[in-house]
């Protein structure tokens, strides 16, 4: 499908629906990780693209559409969590749908639960920064754009988040660490 925006300055831009084809899947994965379930993630993905469309049509141009979309998705996710009156921790600790494959999930159910609980103790930005860095492979520059902060602050969010996770997960880590070393 071709969406043509014929504003003069906009002629060089990609058709808007290309941005869905290109980045929809990774944004969806990010939102599933952030929100813990597929239905909320789908709703938020739709909101993300509808908001983006509005901005796109106001002849707005951007050099990094990917980072821009992550920023919108992050804001949508934050609003979603606030609006649903579930505080973020409850959302994360609740029925978090496990991303790992079914066998893996069964084997490591306890650990997954621990991780979800530990993640829920982080700030929204720390959680978001860790997931963006590790699973969506954004640069700190891009994470900064998404979280409205400098790249240095984005990095600090990741590092502090990891540090906090390590504290919370202390015991299971030493157990895992051993099995890892013995491989």
């Amino acid at each position: 499908m071709i969406n043509r925006n014929f504003n003069k300055s906009a002629d060089q831009r990609p058709p808007f629906t290309d941005l869905l084809e290109k980045y929809g899947r990774e944004l969806y994965a990010y939102l599933v990780r952030m929100l813990g379930n597929q239905q909320d993630a789908e709703d938020c993905l739709q909101d993300t693209y509808l908001r983006a469309l509005g901005a796109f049509e106001r002849t707005w141009s951007e050099s990094n559409y990917r980072a821009w979309l992550y920023k919108i998705a992050t804001n949508v996710a934050r609003t979603h969590l606030q609006k649903h009156q579930r505080d973020e921790r409850a959302a994360m600790e609740g029925e978090h749908q496990i991303m790992a494959g079914p066998q893996e999930a069964l084997l490591h159910k306890e650990q997954v639960h621990l991780v979800v609980a530990a993640m829920a103790r982080l700030s929204f930005r720390q959680r978001s920064a860790i997931l963006l860095r590790k699973y969506n492979e954004l640069t700190y520059e891009e994470i900064g754009q998404a979280l409205d902060c400098t790249p240095e602050t984005a990095r600090a969010h990741v590092y502090q988040g990891i540090k906090k996770l390590k504290e919370k997960l202390g015991d299971s880590i030493s157990a895992k660490g051993k099995s890892h070393a013995s491989r």
Binding site: T17, Q38, Y49, A100, Q111, K166, H180
Partner: protein, 226 residues
């Protein structure tokens, strides 16, 4: 899997942090590494695409018939029916106008407009006087829709005055508003706004390419003008 290769790659680029984070990383991966299944993601994206299309005013399929007695004529068809016929000066002009008016995605398609193109060609060749085409008037305001439906009841070979048409649609005294509604007829020729004349029987106006000369030519074609 995709992520397994990357799992051990440094994702924190600070050395000392890397050592500490390996174990955390492994636990995180257990929970978050797998991406949603391809089929599931595809379905979600298709749903979002649908929502976007609705927000953007749907899809309009368009094409141009280049050889008519009045120059190139553009045609746009929605899922509901024929949405626009245009005397625009260029494809770009037509697309810009369509996008502004309908916020739609525009997709060129010969086959989607084939029926309209065929009937228009027959009309220009004098082999057809009325059209059998489903129209999409959904986006119009009620008054304009009433005017356009009113003029469609005037058959080829006949004309009506703006004032008469106003009376026929139950809005006596709104001849000027009727004239304006006809002047912005999105589907000229097929919705025959050219069959409305001034009260004194003169041609009045025509906003299509060629102005009143086109209007006169259409009326001659239909046998309503000497």
């Amino acid at each position: 899997m995709h992520h397994d290769e990357k799992r051990n790659r440094a994702w924190l680029d600070d050395g000392d942090m890397q050592i500490e984070s390996d174990a955390v990383t492994e636990l995180l991966d257990l929970t978050f590494a797998a991406a949603p299944a391809k089929g599931e993601a595809r379905q979600v994206i298709a749903n979002v695409k649908q929502a976007l299309a609705e927000e953007m005013g749907g899809v309009l399929y368009y094409d141009v018939i280049s050889s008519t007695p009045f120059g190139p004529i553009y045609i746009a068809v929605s899922s509901e029916g024929l949405a626009a016929v245009g005397f625009d000066d260029s494809e770009q002009d037509f697309l810009t106008r369509m996008h502004k008016r309908y916020r739609a995605s525009l997709e060129r398609s010969r086959s989607q407009v084939a029926q309209v193109a065929e009937q228009l060609k027959e009309y220009f060749a004098g082999r057809r006087l009325s059209f059998d085409i489903k129209l999409d008037l959904n986006r119009l305001r009620p008054f304009q829709r009433a005017v356009l439906e009113g003029i469609q009841r005037v058959p080829a070979g006949e004309t009506v005055s703006y004032g008469d048409l106003a009376r026929r649609i139950g809005k006596p005294g709104s001849a000027r508003a009727v004239g304006r509604a006809l002047g912005s007829n999105p589907i000229p020729i097929i919705i025959p706004c050219h069959r409305a004349l001034a009260a004194d029987g003169s041609l009045g106006g025509y906003s299509g390419r060629g102005g009143v000369r086109t209007k006169q030519a259409l009326l001659i074609l239909e046998g309503a003008w000497e």
